[in-house]
Symmetry: D4
């Protein structure tokens, strides 16, 4: 979390933080600045609208929003900003995030939300996708992404050795 | 559709009208005044917010909102009004409204939406539920509801005769 | 739980009480009187019918019914009363309440049930929806609802501060 | 349809007749007497209860009930009779009977409903299951069932020849 | 478990016994004789076929089969006997019995299986349904069923008192 | 269809032929001999068992079985043969083959069925998978498979040109 | 389709073109250059890999990939490029794209795909999301996006008038 | 695990080993040689491609690949080899492997993957299916398969005795 964030990581409740901090930790690996924000599409709708409308002028480039149950948060933010909004469905409900996946993933035509995986896997992928967006115009990030890919490939090879030797 | 509507029937697009007019027709049977409104949680979010905030002062008592796909409309309206909001999931998507049912039906705690059946069956039931709400304080409507129940019971008996004689 | 209840909170078994008492607690916040009732659509059908038929004359205004598995309870009550019936799908089954959501949420046209979220989230929202119904004709409740909305918005801001300072 | 029916074939609406007559036609093959009945768990609940309570004394042995959407009809009948009730989920809804399958198939413990296949396949199997019930105490039916099995096996062999020669 | 069983309770593995013994215990309440049988549609298919073919001559009246995963057991038994077969979907798989419900519940036309609820609730209901079948020709059982209904209704009233006094 | 078939293409009814002939046509492309067989797990169970038991001695190497609804056919065949059995879920039911996918795809441990795609896509892939099995020991087939891959890759390039020029 | 494309619109078959051209048409509205490409993750895997690896050096900024059934195409492309990949699940299968939504939407952690709505709605939203990505660094596009939002809001108001006057 | 493996057991991460070793253990019972391999369709795509392309020349006969979430691994391997590929959906995600089943099970036509059961049951069945493939050309294995079937049938009889004596 730095002075001038490029990415905002939004969630509807502080109880989502333990999952969404995976997003922050991953952005840290790329030196991408970010902020955390708790706001609710339903419980604090005016704040959410004001927050969404102010994002562009504050220099935010990418919005990541985690939500569970009906998971309207990314859609509501997306309707009030033209920044790219990435939705992370959270599995805090009895249906294990399936309804959040449907609710984010099936936005009607006109205002897009890009949905990633349910839960912590999605929180990580949302960060990586945000970096990919920023990297379309940032050679340093582009290089870091390539390094990251090399690194995860190497890590797979490492695991392969472990299993073969087990 | 009368001068002073008690119920507002909201939909995200005029293409939903052919289903949602079932709501209006059913309210007509009870002499309950209503209006139709097209506004979109995502495509016209400011109008939707303004519309929702003004509902109470215009004397609206019940909100009925039909939506398909992620179906955020009833939830967004509900977050800006304390009037009861009834959601009608519409089956205009490849998943036949299943995602709309999940998206309306699984609102997180704090701001309720009451969901009825997918499609035309729900458009009718939303109207009946609105009448039941209004009837909690209106003896005339209470009586009409009881008549309506007697009438649909009689209609079942009529159908029974037809089938038995077939 | 007061002398003259306005809301009845019905459940099929006392094992549902730990979830459904969320409804009562929420009504307490608004000073809305209520009662708890255990009756079963299948195991005590005659009592359920008698109970439903007597609701109106006892001055009940809103019915809230929690049920799991096939979850017929709200539908059965709704068929014997013209009061608004709110269904809470409970996740006491291996399918985690998904079948209860379908079973309440997909009522055929003619007799409505308004369905809220699966589990404790729904038990709370059912209470809030009942208050919204009562508030259509009660200025005190209308004001309390607005206060409640301000309060949950403030609570979101509080959580926002916690996360930002974490 | 004979003077003294052993099986009652119940449906919520005459629009279900085109599917449920498959049940009657199949019973005809076994010379089992039956009646058709239209009654609705929700739209004519008192009739449904009265009907269910009178079944035993009228000499009915097996109840078959087809229903779509939330499909409470077999469960409601089962709660008012100790006769075996077979439920046929009908695919008249946008979700194609999936919710009816869940709604009938997931009855809570205490009052059973035996569910068969969605749609016309189920309407036929309900009849066959009713015959199997009656045949537990009727040698003539037991023999007819065995003949029927031989016959459908022969019909499969016939189809096999057709395909092999095609 | 008595000398001359009327009901056979079949399961694919002894690991299903802890659920399926609910069936036996319920039959005990009605004094209905039964046996337990482990046989597998896939792992011991010849035994299963032989077992199914011998049921009628051994005087068995009703077959109850619990199975998880693809849950072919009741269907395979049904294809080799004309006795009524009741299927109990078991939730021993990652999908919690949903696939077993589909696999038993969606038998193609010609050979019926009657499916009850997933898990222990279904194990109980299968027993009750078997008793209902036997009671179509046994006045003593018919009376016991009516007593049982009165008893579960009384038990609901008892629970109602507990909740009201809580 | 040749004198000495290596693959048997089994289906429960001749109505499945229009889909399953895709399997035969694909095998024709590889010069793999096959036969069509109609037999039913439920309607002709003894034939199905006899058929399955005789497969090995007739020189059959691979079994392909298409089925809809509960789709027990491949599982039943697999339980009576040690030849590899490939299941093709067919979408002839209101649930569009989803239950067949679950019913074949979720075989319990001990007797495997390998499931391919629902419908015609699966009928084709079953044939290709059968060829892959046979090719593990047949250089001619191995070469043909490689040619086939080159050919479908070329066909994709052709389509690419069409779209680019459109 | 212009000389120097910024966006590539990939699909597995030319039969997907009628849906995916919605993406191209939407990009046309923003004057964003693009190309169409047919390549298949499974049928032309080497071409797909080569294509993905060459994207960055050709100056492509955003990848949009439509796919049906298991829908691996966007994931396979994403594994060979660090450009942002947007997946459009197509409803060309009996399950109506539900499996494609799961298959794209549930990428494991490490390599992200951003999923949009099933079908034509998604094809449009993918284009809008691509424009949002490009607009993070292009003031002209940012302005056009704001105009587009104003325009769709105005279009909603227009529809509102039509419905109110109907 | 022997010098010259006939089967390769592939997984995307060493965290899948505890499930996939069921495959190895089962192959051990048949004396079929195998190797374990960790490679990822997304995180080490080039290795995965190289690995797949080299399989045939190394003398591998059958590929078994376990994967969770979008589960592209078996499909990606299948696209680069003409060896039979068996997919094992793993339940390491919030949706319990349901999306992996859809993602493997619904391969588009042209390149087949044969899918087995979710989780450990599937890991075992994949091994058995691989043995069945190898046994189409190996009399020793064919005999062992028959012994295995006899053995699991005997084991069912053993369990039957236990339950009957319990």
């Amino acid at each position: 979390m730095k002075e001038k964030p490029l990415v905002t990581i939004v969630m509807g409740s502080d109880s989502d933080f333990s999952v969404m901090e995976e997003t922050g930790k991953t952005l840290d690996e790329f030196g991408v600045t970010y902020e955390y924000k708790v706001t609710s599409a339903h419980r604090s709708p005016d704040q959410a609208v004001t927050f969404a409308k102010g994002l562009f002028d504050r220099g935010i480039k990418v919005v990541i929003a985690g939500a569970s149950y009906s998971a309207h948060l990314p859609g509501v933010l997306a309707s009030h900003t033209t920044l790219p909004v990435i939705g992370v469905p959270l599995d805090a409900s009895p249906l294990k995030g399936m309804e959040a996946l449907f609710s984010m993933g099936q936005m009607p035509p006109g205002v897009p939300v890009a949905t990633v995986t349910i839960g912590k896997a999605g929180a990580k992928n949302a960060a990586l996708f945000a970096v990919e967006i920023l990297a379309t115009n940032d050679e340093r990030l582009q290089k870091l992404l390539k390094d990251h890919r090399a690194q995860i490939a190497a890590s797979v090879e490492e695991k392969d050795k472990n299993v073969r030797n087990s």
